[in-house]
């Protein structure tokens, strides 16, 4: 279980996250929701160690993540930032092989096992046919799949995705969410920052709701997703009905 204890993060002497206590259940899909600027991305950065926490710790199976070396940490937990940079002329296969970095020597030579994992990640994201095409010539949906494949090649128990659906059209959003469910079935624990509340409820097992750097609620959608919460966190008047297809709560703004 990934647990966050008393985590506080300051940004230029301004408190961005204050005293967070969050536990992320293993083997589930967890959605991180909250209004813009509530500290969702900061939380992911603090977990990945690219931001230093002012106090508190992040533990994974009782092991302090901040005490692990960069590579050891990257074997346990992978993160896809909101807008990674796509270098010119890198092929999909090369990009996916970057995911193997935590297992490689400094020189970056790939063993046959590494090659196999890359191949599997490509197959899982249906990119095998596009493997030798430059990433910057792919469409938005394909490109996002390539990044997901890179994270899959990293072969970690935990995968954190920061707003993976943001620049995609609805079809590709759904495609991505279904791919996440498939990954979850194969044993991955996922944490996703999402903006679409209905998608969060429909596809995720667990919700973490944040506002102004603080935790508001964390539990299953059935238990916490109600009109009072929406009013409090998003200042939104909404009616909650039952999604007849997925049997999950969904909101309709009034």
């Amino acid at each position: 279980m990934l647990s966050i204890e008393n985590l506080s993060v300051d940004y230029a002497s301004r408190s961005v996250l204050s005293d967070l206590n969050i536990s992320i259940p293993q083997g589930k899909i967890t959605a991180l929701i909250g209004p813009n600027g509530c500290g969702k991305s900061t939380l992911l950065k603090a977990i990945s160690g690219s931001l230093k926490a002012a106090s508190g710790k992040v533990t994974l199976a009782d092991q302090d993540l901040t005490k692990l070396s960069h590579k050891k940490r990257a074997r346990r937990l992978s993160i896809l930032p909101q807008s990674p940079i796509t270098p010119e002329g890198i092929s999909v296969r090369q990009l996916v092989s970057f995911g193997r970095n935590p297992y490689l020597s400094q020189w970056g030579g790939l063993t046959s096992e590494d090659q196999q994992k890359v191949q599997m990640a490509l197959a899982e994201t249906a990119l095998t046919d596009l493997a030798d095409i430059p990433v910057d010539s792919l469409s938005g949906g394909q490109r996002q799949r390539a990044w997901i494949a890179m994270v899959l090649a990293q072969d970690t128990e935990y995968i954190l995705l920061d707003e993976p659906t943001t620049y995609l059209d609805l079809t590709h959003q759904i495609e991505l969410m279904e791919m996440m469910q498939k990954m979850n079935k194969n044993g991955k624990t996922l944490v996703v920052v999402l903006h679409d509340l209905n998608q969060a409820c429909r596809y995720c097992d667990h919700l973490i709701v944040m506002k102004k750097g603080q935790l508001v609620a964390q539990d299953t959608p059935h238990k916490i997703f109600n009109s009072r919460l929406l009013k409090e966190v998003f200042a939104l008047n909404a009616m909650i009905i039952n999604d007849p297809i997925a049997n999950k709560p969904m909101c309709i703004p009034l």
Binding site: S50, H70, P87
Partner: protein, 324 residues
């Protein structure tokens, strides 16, 4: 044989041919046969070939490699197409330090020049780094600050040379970079630095590939980005500084070579580094060969020729660059 090996081999061949041309031509043209004979068993032309032209060619190759690799590392870390050791003021700092010491102690041992230039280069890099930290300017602004600092440093060099007039050819070394009168005595101090730093930069290649995905992504993939940035910048500064210590502030090589290499072989550093090194060597050697042969016995500084090549290319880059 892949396209890449073909490319490397042909560039290498070109370099060899150019080195041959450079040995044969000059104020005193020699026959190919004479040169070959002199190389093996010495003789009449021993001084011109073995003590004058040969070390100079080798230095041109090494310096070109050093500057080019330094450029690859700087661009890789700063992720700014306009970044290069000479435009960031690093060459200027190294040049100023080396020039100052040479004017105060004209008889100083050449082996001291690289470490002294290194100090100057680090000082200039530190200023840029601090400004970048405090203000975090956009890439184009950072380039502007670097350029202002390097312009300032070169006006300091100007000042020193006005105060202590020296022979005009030596002055040119510090003003625009030149290989005039560079012999074996200058080659040996340069060698250990390059022998350690060049392989080390290859060692960083894979991490630099990951760094190109953005700092956050690289971090998530298990790269210690902070350490990588510091180590790569330090090596870049060191490579540029030791090159400058020997033949002054040759401009635009550190900018041009990495871009050409990227154009030819794509964006993987493992492939870029050897290619850029060869192109850098080719650039400096051809600039120097031209400089010796345009108006013999007069010598133009090699830095003038790289600027004539480099400035239009910089403008072309600017034309394509949308970041500013």
């Amino acid at each position: 044989m892949t396209r890449y090996t073909q490319l490397l081999l042909s560039t290498f061949l070109l370099l060899l041919i150019l080195a041959g041309v450079s040995l044969v031509t000059g104020a005193e043209p020699l026959a190919i046969k004479t040169v070959l004979k002199t190389l093996i068993e010495g003789g009449e032309q021993d001084f011109i070939v073995n003590y004058y032209r040969l070390p100079r060619i080798l230095i041109a190759i090494l310096v070109g490699m050093g500057l080019a690799i330094s450029g690859v590392l700087t661009q890789g870390i700063i992720r700014n197409p306009l970044a290069s050791p000479d435009l960031m003021g690093i060459s200027g700092g190294a040049g100023l330090a080396a020039c100052t010491v040479l004017l105060i102690w004209p008889n100083i041992n050449n082996a001291w020049l690289p470490p002294i230039a290194l100090l100057g280069g680090f000082a200039a890099a530190l200023i840029i780094w601090l400004l970048n930290r405090w203000h975090n300017p956009s890439p184009a602004r950072l380039a502007l600050v670097g350029i202002a600092i390097s312009a300032f440093l070169s006006s300091c060099i100007n000042f020193l040379l006005v105060l202590h007039p020296i022979e005009v050819n030596s002055a040119m070394i510090w003003l625009t970079g030149s290989l005039w009168g560079r012999n074996w005595d200058y080659l040996w101090p340069l060698l250990p630095w390059l022998i350690t730093l060049v392989p080390f930069s290859f060692y960083l290649a894979w991490s630099l590939d990951l760094f190109a995905l953005g700092e956050e992504t690289a971090n998530a993939l298990g790269v210690d980005t902070q350490r990588l940035q510091i180590v790569a910048l330090l090596s870049a500064v060191a490579l540029a500084s030791v090159s400058v210590a020997v033949c002054g502030t040759i401009g635009f090589v550190g900018l041009l070579a990495p871009h050409l290499a990227r154009l030819l072989v794509g964006s993987r550093h493992k492939l870029i580094l050897p290619c850029a090194a060869l192109i850098g060597a080719l650039l400096v050697l051809s600039a120097d060969t031209l400089a010796r042969n345009l108006a013999p016995p007069l010598e133009l500084p090699a830095g003038v020729l790289t600027a004539i090549l480099g400035a239009p290319y910089f403008l072309f880059l600017l034309h394509r660059y949308k970041g500013c």
